[in-house]
């Protein structure tokens, strides 16, 4: 039981950490909001006059903007579908008793430890390169013309790379969820006459709902801000074919040196993230309750 005094003491002692974290968040947010209302271009020295919402109008009416929004959603959605589906299959596979289970599990987790820039470079140069990549060599070996992944299917290629990075995370969460399933439930379903596919559909999948929810929520946070993989591989191109919102913000503020428009893009990104979060919590959040 906590007394009033101990609760007050707890609050007092927590406050430095809370205040620090709050400052950490509030100050950059306030500055972004402030900059987004200024005409602030690094190539035009001098005063930074207040321009109201003109930066937002400029950012939102840019033809690249709608493409970037769509690309962001496709990237998030695509990676989520791939990692959840393959993650469930891999988790089912890894849950089977087999020789060398520990080593195999470690290997499956390995991609998660590779830095995004490094893995993107490996994929770009060693696998997907139309001149020297492994896939090009394989196509040539069977007499096909090598496929130019980043030229022909830039967004799909980025999705593949990001999905490869996040698959271990999904697999790990879903594997632990799978291991917490009561074996007697499966045996009961077997006695009740449910064949393996129906056992999967009626018993295993509902049990995994919470794990899938965790995977979706956590991955979405990170997938909305995918940047390194795009910067290293396609640089947002060709044109804006693989530009997502974070990359567009980067392009505005650091390629065109327009701090004001970049800040406005950042605020738009925050709004988008919150919209996605509300939809997600509505759709899958109930799985987290008891």
């Amino acid at each position: 039981m906590s007394t009033q005094a101990s609760r007050a003491a707890a609050r007092l002692m927590l406050s430095p950490a809370v205040i620090l974290l709050l400052m950490w968040m509030i100050v950059p947010l306030a500055m972004t909001l402030w900059f987004s209302t200024l005409r602030y271009r690094l190539l035009q020295p001098g005063a930074h006059p207040f321009v109201g919402l003109r930066n937002y109008v400029f950012f939102v009416t840019d033809p690249a903007f709608s493409t970037a929004i769509v690309n962001t959603l496709i990237l998030v959605g695509g990676v989520l579908v791939i990692t959840v589906v393959l993650g469930i299959l891999l988790a089912l596979l890894l849950d089977q008793p087999m020789w060398g289970q520990g080593v195999v599990r470690l290997l499956v987790i390995a991609p998660f430890f590779v830095m995004p820039t490094v893995s993107a470079l490996v994929w770009k140069n060693m696998f997907m390169s139309p001149t020297s990549g492994l896939f090009a060599e394989l196509s040539k070996a069977v007499g096909l013309v090598p496929f130019d992944f980043f030229g022909q299917a830039p967004l799909a290629s980025v999705i593949a790379i990001v999905a490869w990075q996040w698959l271990p995370f999904a697999t790990l969460i879903l594997l632990t969820a799978l291991q917490s399933l009561d074996r007697e439930q499966l045996e009961a379903a077997e006695m009740d006459g449910a064949p393996p596919l129906k056992r999967f559909w009626f018993i295993i999948l509902p049990h995994l709902a919470r794990g899938v929810t965790v995977v979706i929520l956590i991955q979405t946070i990170f997938l909305l801000s995918v940047f390194a993989e795009i910067r290293v591989t396609t640089n947002g191109g060709p044109g804006v074919a693989s530009t997502n919102l974070p990359f567009l913000v980067y392009a505005r503020s650091l390629l065109q040196f327009d701090v004001g428009a970049g800040a406005a893009g950042g605020v738009v990104a925050i709004i988008l993230a919150n919209i996605v979060a509300i939809f997600l919590m509505r759709a899958v959040g109930k799985n987290l309750d008891a």
Binding site: D182, Q185, E187, D192, G193, F202
Partner: protein, 334 residues
Amino acid sequence: MGMIELSKVTKRFGYVEVVPPLDLTIEDGEFCVFVGPSGCGKSTLLRLIAGLEDVSGGRIVIDGADATAAPPAKRRLAMVFQSYALYPHMTVRKNIAFPLRMAGMPPEEQARRVDAAAKVLNLTPYLDRRPGQLSGGQRQRVAIGRAIVREPEAFLFDEPLSNLDAALRVGMRLEISELHERLRTTMVYVTHDQVEAMTMADKIVVLNAGRIEQVGSPLDLYKAPKNVFVAGFIGSPKMNLVSGEGARRFGAETIGIRPEHVRVSTTEGTWTGTVGVAEHLGSDTFLHVHGTGLAETVTVRVGGEIDLRHGSRVHLTPDPDKIHRFDANGLRLP
């Protein structure tokens, strides 16, 4: 109907033989209880009958048909698990209907059977709740409901009451016995609790290390245990087993005498000792007497009104007609 015959059934896990070749017949409509200490293979035997484990040798015949290789779903048996194994994301209604749904039964027939089962088990008010919102006893009834809607040839119970508190256990014990009286379907029931075995069974199978020690009606086992193991296992409090000098006087290597078959006197008797702990239950008193010259403490059951306590000197006389005598191999002497 639901007759189950096991012939030469064997189960090995790797090199460990947990069930040596074993023969057993469970008659149709019988309430058969497997009882034994933990690790004696009773649950394994039940799982072999259910088909959840494959036999290493021998044949299982259910209802006249060889079911040795049949998958669990094809054996027309229903099982109630120790953990109930309810599906947590489904309502009670859906849980009970699950086997019917898997069998592809039309929805109206499913609803009819679920309602009938719910009525029998007093679950009607809870049909739209989830297992997480039910008490232990209600969950147990849902598990039984899921078993009875299929109208199986036999029910298999794997220690179904061990997760319930003592009061509920007595209640559920009666309900299951009641259910058996009504359905008259074969039931195979695994427990380590010999009180459950004695009160519920038509036939008790006492198992030890995978072997059948004795098969018989509860009173047969109580009155004429075939060996020392059964003698010590059946009955509560345990039968007094005396070996050595005290037994040789009766012409046996070991003798057994039940606590209720020892007469207590304050003046004279065969053995004389001191009361250690006296457990007053109200209706009965259990005296643990030591210092009788025997190696073992003797437990005696006397009436509730007796005024003997710790430290009292008592004289004990075993009822000569009720002494069980066993030879050096632990087998009953005639």
